[in-house]
């Protein structure tokens, strides 16, 4: 079993506009990309569990083969930079993805 962080070249989060956060998982090896996609673990249920989200909070999960990347976008509970926000740029919300185990 590999951890996702060991397979991915880039693992990051960032605002996609002030009302959403987007998680990017990018690979430099088509084989690693294929392995992660095909094992099926990156799905709505996994993300909801990891991030304590409801399925309707997830805007989309897209697999982009040409870019060897996976993108997950979800709604912020608080918009960027207003009261109760904790991460104005949304740049530190990716860590829970790292320990996902890939069979």
């Amino acid at each position: 079993m590999d951890r996702l962080v060991d397979l991915a070249k880039v693992l990051r989060s960032k605002n996609s506009g002030p009302f959403e956060i987007t998680l990017d998982i990018l690979f430099d090896d088509p084989e690693k990309y294929r392995k992660v996609v095909e094992c099926g673990i990156i799905n709505v249920q996994t993300i909801c569990q990891l991030y304590h989200l409801k399925p309707e909070d997830i805007c989309n999960i897209v697999f982009y083969q040409k870019g060897l990347g996976i993108k997950i976008t979800y709604n912020r509970s608080v918009s960027s930079g207003t009261l109760r926000d904790r991460d104005v740029y949304g740049a530190q919300q990716h860590a829970p993805l790292m320990d996902i185990l890939i069979p």
Partner: protein
């Protein structure tokens, strides 16, 4: 038609700076234009709401001096997107005052300038709202009401290429855009010269962050984009960086909700069939970027309003007995403060604790909510006025400092304050109150151009 068009992007945000050597290298390759993005909503709603800039005046001037002089000497246009950070009237005027200073100090004359304003009058928005033509951009964005619009400092809209094309056609040498869709000022140069729109936009999307699409990536270094008839190439002008297929493809993903469908003013970019290839010397070639025009031209509106005032305190906790029950104690402190201030309505303020070292960054989303041997605590009071926020926050601080929780042994104090005074008046807190799409007949009507020399 030229065989290719070269665009030099000096840095990711005007004022972030760039190594002079990289800029000089870029000029040696004879760019046809220098284009720089100055804006972002990343830093939150405050800049737009409070009419302040992202970078300091000094930092902006330092970068602009190089750009304006290089454009003037090489007879190539210089375009600034989203001037002043948010692109509103105050932000554009701030940028113009810096430009005026540079032009007079350096005797750069004559310089034909175009200023493209992007402030959308509220009465125009009211009219469109009545016809249902203003819609929230995202599931969690509230519907726009007259009240929210009234409270909003000012509204800007992201421009497409249309007004920038007009400025280029008129021969402007320096174009200062209000709020622009980040790739637009780059795309306009390619499209003005007759190149493919999809490729021109996609190249703009990559160049707008400076050398962030490189390995190693940064927003503080220069990039060159070369647009050909059937493809484009990007490369850093600093030999210590290179573009790779992964770094460029990764950047196509950046800050967007979808990896290959990108929506802009009046357009949709589809990058699903793009091919990225490394062609040596740190260059990457991109083919297959497609763009379609949408049947209805929609622009993105942005606005921010003041919602409250904040006072906050930063402190540390090292006592394991307190760390163990910190959330319980914080709740007790909160109710104690509320009881101390019955004269301030409870619904008019809030007291929040951020426990760094536990779940400070992710809050309720944190899957690993466990503290280490010490904890950073930031607490804040959000209230209707600064004086209420400060009065309440001072009470939170003193109550927390001396709170006699069950099992306490450190009866002299619960918090380590790094600073004296401990309480910091933050000022106003803003929120993005307008983040909506609005229909408009075309890409030019709401973006008036002013020319000057």
């Amino acid at each position: 038609m030229k065989k290719c068009i070269k665009i030099l992007s000096p840095c990711g945000i005007l004022g972030y700076g760039f190594p002079l050597e990289s800029f000089v290298n870029g000029l040696k390759d004879k760019p046809d234009a220098i284009v720089v993005d100055a804006g972002s909503t990343d830093a939150g709603p405050h800049k737009l709401g409070a009419n302040t800039a992202i970078v300091s005046r000094q930092a902006c001037k330092k970068d602009l001096e190089y750009l304006i002089a290089a454009g003037f000497e090489n007879h190539i246009p210089v375009i600034i997107g989203s001037a002043g950070g948010s692109g509103g009237k105050a932000h554009v005027e701030w940028t113009l005052s810096i430009i005026d200073e540079i032009i007079s100090e350096r005797t750069i004359h004559p310089l034909k300038q175009a200023i493209i304003w992007s402030d959308i009058p509220k009465d125009v928005i009211y009219e469109e709202m009545k016809q249902g033509k203003v819609i929230p951009l995202g599931d969690t964005v509230p519907m726009l009401t007259e009240e929210i619009l009234e409270d909003t400092t000012g509204v800007v809209a992201q421009m497409g290429i249309e007004p920038i094309l007009e400025a280029l056609e008129e021969g402007a040498q320096l174009i200062v855009c209000g709020r622009a869709y980040d790739p637009s000022p780059f795309a306009a140069v390619g499209i003005h010269n007759g190149f493919d729109e999809g490729l021109a936009y996609h190249m703009g999307k990559i160049l707008e962050c400076g050398a962030l699409c490189c390995d190693p990536g940064t927003t503080k270094d220069c990039m060159m984009g070369v647009l050909y008839e059937d493809c484009f190439e990007v490369y850093p002008t600093n030999p210590q960086r290179k573009c790779t297929t992964v770094s460029v493809a990764a950047h196509t993903f950046y800050e967007k909700d979808h990896p290959y469908i990108l929506r802009g003013p009046g357009i949709v970019l589809n990058l699903e069939d793009c091919e990225f290839s490394e062609i040596g010397n740190g260059r990457v070639r991109v083919k297959g970027s497609k763009m379609i025009r949408t049947p209805i031209y929609e622009i993105k509106l942005e606005g921010a309003r003041k919602v409250a005032y904040r006072t906050f305190v930063i402190a540390g906790i090292r006592d394991p007995l307190l760390i163990e029950k910190v959330e319980e104690v914080e709740e007790l402190v909160k109710s104690s403060v509320m009881n101390q201030y019955p004269e301030i309505p409870r619904e008019s303020y809030e007291i929040n604790f951020y426990n760094y070292g536990k779940n400070g960054v992710m809050g309720n989303l944190e899957p690993n909510n466990v503290a280490g041997h010490e904890l950073g605590v930031m607490f804040e009071v959000i209230a209707k006025t600064q004086s209420e926020a400060s009065a309440l926050c001072s009470s939170v601080r003193s109550t927390f400092m001396h709170y006699g929780y069950q099992g306490r042994k450190s009866t002299a104090g619960n918090l380590a304050f790094p600073f004296a005074p401990s309480d910091v008046e933050f000022g106003a807190v803003y929120e993005f109150s307008v983040y909506h799409l609005m229909e408009t007949p075309n890409g030019k009507m709401l973006f008036p151009i002013e020319f000057r020399t």
